[in-house]
Subunit: 348 residues, 2 copies
Amino acid sequence: VPVKTIEWRDNSVRMIDQRLLPARETIRIYKDYKGVADAIRTMVIRGAPAIGVAAAMGVALGIRGYSGTRAQSRFALVAKALKSTRPTAVNLAWGVDRMGRVLEANLSLDAAHLFRVMRDEAIAICREDIEANRAMGKFGAELLSASNTILTHCNAGALATAGYGTALGVVRAAKEAGKKVAVFADETRPFLQGSRLTAWELHKDKIPVTIIADNMAATVLRSGRIDCVIVGTDRTAANGDVANKIGTYPLAVMARRHNVPFYVAAPLSSIDLNCPSGDQIPIEERSGLELTEFRGKQVAPKGIATFNPAFDVTPNDLVTAIITERGVAYPPYTESLKALKDSARPPK
Amino acid sequence: VPVKTIEWRDNSVRMIDQRLLPARETIRIYKDYKGVADAIRTMVIRGAPAIGVAAAMGVALGIRGYSGTRAQSRFALVAKALKSTRPTAVNLAWGVDRMGRVLEANLSLDAAHLFRVMRDEAIAICREDIEANRAMGKFGAELLSASNTILTHCNAGALATAGYGTALGVVRAAKEAGKKVAVFADETRPFLQGSRLTAWELHKDKIPVTIIADNMAATVLRSGRIDCVIVGTDRTAANGDVANKIGTYPLAVMARRHNVPFYVAAPLSSIDLNCPSGDQIPIEERSGLELTEFRGKQVAPKGIATFNPAFDVTPNDLVTAIITERGVAYPPYTESLKALKDSARPPK
């Protein structure tokens, strides 16, 4: 049974609450854009492609009942609220801006018709995300041999996307192609996307998965047991610098040290050609409570200082290849990523 | 108020239960060696020097009431039980073996006298550990400049020793010498020695401390904010390979990548000249429950596979210097460590 990360139903947006997994499978239902914005900010839903879809659906909810110039100013307000929830993933802005272009092309419609067009566009973004992941999975699976142990970080799976996953999409596609796959999953502090989410969805799919703490990845890489590392990305710059969940950068360094290929599964929506290099990617800092508390229980001394960056940037020279839904990009990325983006049909 | 990690009082061994810190300060009292062995195994007490002291005190409790050849066979049993609790830290065997030599030298005493001699030896080991840490601190502090931000991993502090600490002893000595110090502490999964213990004892001593997740250390090192890394060790081989808490090895790799000195604070009791290199150091694997549960609450899916090595080995070429209570060792360590060990007076 595939996981439904996010779904449009009965003019509302449904999400599985990822903060409670795997202990509880709770569905949240949002009827307005503010609820969706809160869900993104508080990580009910997370993962760059998934929050891109959520933001698009949030826009559709937000402009409901508006048309013409009133819809335009309403969109400006809704877009700002949604884009401000999390700064690093470029998919968020990508999803919102695509909805904005559809709005501009349909300003002559009455409110009811405009809402239907916007709703259908959000649903299309959701469907296309899954299709992109399946295409990416096929390209990625070709990089793998007949039997593979893959190390991954965070959750770049069905739960991070509309479905199927990016990095875990490659794992799934390899399995579907008859290859043998097993996964080591970094638990990924502080939110534990690895031990809670990656482990949960792979376990459901009967793909063997072994949990380690983030600081154990170096030992596993040194042991020679890992054939490749595959991770997702929240934003990849034009030069191939990769922003992804905190801990990806040291993982890439250790992979290089132990001669293990380091692959990034990146839908074209996460590649930002307007961003020349990783230095220009804004890195979100989240609340220190993620480090000092665990499910409301105090772990560290009260009043202690914290630093909690949610992402880091892996320099392009540590990235063996970038897997997209249009093919695999190799260095120099400034050329290969641009060529892949150019080859993609413009969004309708 | 200094932390009392372990104390001999009224013919029993008292320890602060480190599993409950910082939420609760609970003292455990052990009257027999089996209790002490359990305390080491379950990490009521941890840290290589601290468990060396605990094991010595455990031997004293264990041989109480015995003398002559009965004391010898009793010692064999007690020593085996204590040594088998945790395999990586060499201090455990060091403490037990030192007690064994005292036993052999006092076989003519009656049981009451023998117990007093053994008890006094265990108390001496405890006192000497603090003295060694203070000496180590002074040597280490000389390596630091007037103002320092130090990154550390796990807890090599007062709680890991009889008192004062090894890596944190260097921090304390630098402060006592009038230098400015601030600390970044890796939280250190899965047991959270950094956010629970290092943060707690430095906060008590009013030394500024900032908690980060282990996977954030690379970002902090890249930022240029860190002047040096200082860690402890559970066993350092004759060639300077350093076994320490899991995550130390990737930390050393990242420190080298960003040109940050990487220091190891190692009492001579933790340097094992009988172990030629890190390959020969046994690495403890602990229960996967440390990864799948948090204070008894399920975090990961039930039945998931885990890999939980408690230590890793940092190769000697990544170690800038090793700080001992007899001075600072530089490469080549095979020579410098042997010279320092030879210079130490043999245990009485």
